[in-house]
């Protein structure tokens, strides 16, 4: 731990400029959270306020309000600053939560079926198929 150079002495990729901004956070489990960044640390642990979880399926998306999140840094893939103008002219349509959750479940089931088929074919060829993908982003 004492080998870490204190951030204040380096030209750091600091998140201090992103505080109090509306950000998109992509997590390793594939979730996309949109919220206002309130706090961070050297591990990229984050505090997000007024967070919504946005689920994208095809050309549609749905939002679930989630409140305040404390995210452990190891799960963070990237943070994006949302351009509020571009956000208004997205070629995607917003749908109610129930609809998007249904669409998401169908997409997951389709993916599971493909995986199962692939695993069966590999197994028949003599490959070991005990690997489960945990990074779903």
């Amino acid at each position: 731990m004492d080998n870490f150079i204190p951030q204040i002495f380096t030209t750091s990729a600091s998140l201090v400029d992103s505080v109090d901004r509306k950000l998109l956070v992509v997590l390793r489990d594939g979730r996309k959270l949109i919220g206002v960044l309130r706090s961070f640390d050297q591990f990229a642990n984050l505090v997000l306020q007024d967070t919504i979880e946005r689920i994208y399926v095809g050309d549609a998306y749905g939002d679930i309000p989630r409140g305040i999140f404390i995210i452990r840094g190891e799960n963070v893939v990237l943070l994006g600053e949302i351009d509020l103008d571009k956000e208004d002219e997205l070629p995607l349509r917003q749908v109610p939560v129930e609809e998007i959750l249904l669409a998401q479940r169908e997409e997951m089931e389709a993916r599971a079926r493909r995986e199962k088929l692939k695993n069966k074919l590999l197994h028949d060829q003599g490959f070991s198929v005990d690997f489960t993908e945990t990074d779903l982003y």
Partner: protein, 99 residues
């Protein structure tokens, strides 16, 4: 430390960062830190239709741990300098390699 210093020389260049999930993002490198976290400006996801969530995002911070490759313009790299630095680093590693 070597690659941190190397990336610092590339600030301002357009690079493409490929993540471990195959998502590739092109943008201008604005900053880098000791963990090789990367900040890019004016980004464009290479396969936009596949990653709709990136459409409204213009700058991003990418955690170093999820990067697979950083594609750079060859003209921006002084290979002789890099080789020298690597040789020196091999003789005397500066900061800890074990995290």
């Amino acid at each position: 430390m070597l690659f941190y210093s190397f990336f610092k020389t590339l600030i301002g260049q357009q690079v493409t960062v490929e993540l471990k999930n195959d998502l590739a993002i092109t943008g201008i490198l604005t900053s880098v830190d000791q963990f090789l976290n990367i900040k890019l400006d004016e980004i464009r996801a290479v396969d936009e239709a596949k990653y709709p969530h990136m459409m409204a995002v213009k700058n991003c911070f990418i955690r170093g741990s999820v990067v697979r490759y950083v594609q750079l313009p060859a003209s921006a790299v002084d290979t002789a300098l890099l080789q020298d630095a690597a040789r020196r680093e091999a003789q005397q590693p500066t900061t800890g390699g074990a995290h």
